[in-house]
């Protein structure tokens, strides 16, 4: 067809709006549709929403005071009075898990937010610009990786002081190198693609190329790492708590409960199982949602 005919065609089309657009919905709605079709992701999302609800409503739904110890009731097996049993100090485990949800979720999410933001920025700069920036940033990251993370976290805590908020910052800082490395690696593999060069040719600034053209294409590895990072953060908090640097007793925190119960693994396994289950379910929920998100964000794997 000659161009002139085409143009006549254009005018006709625009006057009559002959063919409606195939998918007039917004991008966000499209993603939501794709996510909803993924059963696993929906389950994950429901669990997370449930956990958030529990965390918010904790004071209202706890059957007992989570910090009230009653030695006469210690090591009660799970039963109608105490669904999840009681611990060595006679505290109700269900109540402690409910009150711990708030801390564990906050810790997990905020630590990941800290390390993700800083890690993505550093990794992007190193991967995209290369050269000296790459050498300086990545050698510094290597230095951080060379020290065992828990030791490094303790060092940060020593500098920052005690407390759960400081623990979150320390855990967040310690896992920056992992994110930076992943982001840098993925950017290196995507950066040489023609479409990134095309973005430059049409006049994009570097920052826009990174955020609009490169990062969306490396999202899957970042999302997977971040969902796993939530679980690592919860466990790291537990480790710091166990060393007396995280939450201070008697505040309930899942990792801390797990740590203190480990002595009773054979005599009273329920003191260990339920906090462990709580962590596992949370981690699983975030992983399921993360997987679903990754697929929903990728137009290729969306079912049409």
């Amino acid at each position: 067809m000659k161009l002139k005919d085409l143009k006549a065609d254009v005018e006709e089309n625009s006057l009559q709006q002959a063919l409606p657009l195939e998918k007039p919905e917004s991008r966000l709605k499209e993603m939501w549709e794709a996510l909803r079709e993924n059963n696993a992701a929906v389950v994950g999302l429901c669990i997370i929403l449930f956990l958030i609800l529990v965390a918010i409503l904790a004071p209202l739904i706890m059957p007992y005071d989570p910090n009230l110890s009653d030695m006469s009731k210690s090591f009660l097996k799970p039963g109608p009075d105490h669904w999840f049993g009681t611990d060595q100090l006679g505290r109700d485990i269900l109540s402690r898990i409910i009150s711990g949800a708030r801390i564990s979720l906050t810790v997990g999410l905020s630590a990941v937010v800290i390390s993700l933001t800083i890690g993505v920025v550093l990794g992007s700069i190193a991967g995209y610009f290369g050269g000296k920036a790459d050498i300086i940033i990545m050698r510094f990251m290597d230095m951080m990786l060379a020290i065992p993370s828990i030791l490094l976290a303790i060092a940060f805590m020593a500098a920052l002081g005690k407390g759960i908020d400081k623990a979150v910052i320390a855990i967040g800082l310690v896992s920056i190198p992992e994110y930076a490395r992943i982001v840098r690696g993925s950017i290196l593999s995507v950066k040489e693609n023609d479409y990134v060069q095309a973005a430059r040719v049409i006049g994009n600034k570097n920052s826009r190329i990174i955020f609009k053209h490169i990062l969306p294409n490396v999202l899957s590895s970042i999302v997977v790492r971040a969902t796993l990072g939530i679980s690592t953060a919860v466990l790291d908090t537990a480790a710091l708590g166990f060393l007396g640097l995280g939450v201070q007793p008697p505040v309930a925190e899942w990792g801390d409960m797990l740590g203190r119960a480990r002595g009773f693994i054979f005599t009273a396994p329920y003191t260990l199982i339920f906090p462990g289950l709580a962590i596992t379910i949370t981690v699983l929920a975030f992983n399921l949602l993360g997987d679903g998100l990754r697929d929903a964000l990728d137009p290729k794997s969306r079912k049409n």
Binding site: L19, Q197, A198, A199
Partner: protein, 321 residues
């Protein structure tokens, strides 16, 4: 003829592959070595040569993907190589590139409509409410339907994707479009369609093309003048008719003899070049084509011939002339 749109002077691009302890280069790849040419407004200059001869490098220097090691790119009187990064970026709306591989050149996470609208948005060429209709117009210009704008690149065929790439290049209303082997990744039936489209668009938008290809047959269809490159250098450049009827450089003669003939009765003398292209790293002395040349004479391996104008508009770099 008409006025010059872009002039390339002594353009060089060296890639340092290795350097010693003190940072001095020990191994240098001369991708483009001292190339000069100019393109007039409204003209199509074809650039041919086998892979690795530096033709794509020239194209990428024109669109600011590579920084030239030396030389000048003078676009409408301004030397682009001397501009700051931000000012250089502003010229992206005058010089655009159509990529070779339509499967790699479109962002898989953006809809086709967004891909075409992006250059207009970031260069603030049109008010927001007018972008939509402009995208519709561009889609139609390249033979795509407006209702396809919300699809993603993977839902299109190779030829359609290349059309999207062309629409993206047109979006900023460029003056010069560098076509970097735009049809070599497509199958033959689609090649002709895309070439015809490029031809029509040229008239419609008053474009100037630098058309890069690796064979003379594709270039013959679309170019006004043709330059032949070998190992980073321009060896011959002439108006199309002149070059095809009177090829002077032995390399051009060999390339031309490789085009299959349509007429089974004309027996063509095929020139088969022996040997491989020498490595562009640490080049031999003398003429670069000397190791494979079938018309080699005394002295070819000593002196490097420069480009000479043997008849009006016909330049050749060979000791024979």
């Amino acid at each position: 003829m008409s006025e010059v749109l872009v002039e390339v002077k002594n353009l060089k691009k060296y890639f340092t592959l290795d350097h010693d302890f003190f940072g001095r280069p020990t191994s240098v790849l001369k991708a483009t070595d001292d190339v000069s040419f100019s393109i007039n407004k409204g003209e199509t200059l074809g650039l041919v040569g086998e892979s690795g001869c530096g033709k794509t490098t020239i194209g990428k220097m024109l669109v600011n993907l590579y920084e030239p090691t030396e030389g000048q790119i003078i676009f409408e009187g301004t030397d682009l190589t001397k501009l700051s990064e931000a000012k250089r970026r502003a010229y992206s709306k005058d010089i655009q590139l159509i990529f070779q591989d339509p499967y790699a050149s479109l962002n898989p996470r953006m809809t086709v409509g967004d891909i075409i609208a992006e250059p207009i948005r970031i260069n603030n060429l049109l008010p927001k409410e007018k972008i939509e209709s402009r995208v519709t117009y561009l889609l139609n210009c390249v033979g795509l339907a407006n209702h396809q704008r919300n699809r993603y690149p993977h839902e299109f065929s190779g030829g359609q994707r290349q059309r999207v790439g062309i629409a993206r290049a047109l979006a900023v209303q460029p003056k010069l479009i560098v076509c970097d082997e735009p049809v070599s990744a497509l199958d033959v039936s689609i090649q002709a369609q895309v070439l015809n489209l490029l031809d029509e668009l040229k008239e419609e938008f008053g474009l100037t093309y630098l058309f890069i290809a690796h064979g003379l047959n594709v270039v013959k269809h679309i170019s006004d003048r043709v330059g032949v490159m070998y190992l980073g250098k321009l060896v011959e450049m002439a108006p199309k008719k002149e070059l095809y009827s009177n090829p002077m450089h032995p390399y051009t003669q060999a390339l031309l003899s490789a085009i299959p003939s349509v007429d089974p009765n004309t027996k063509k003398q095929r020139i088969i070049l022996s040997g491989d292209v020498p490595s562009p790293i640490n080049l031999p002395e003398g003429c670069r084509f000397c190791s494979r040349c079938f018309k080699k004479i005394e002295g070819c391996d000593r002196d490097e011939p420069g480009l000479k104008e043997v008849s009006p508009g016909h330049f050749v770099a060979c000791k024979l002339y």
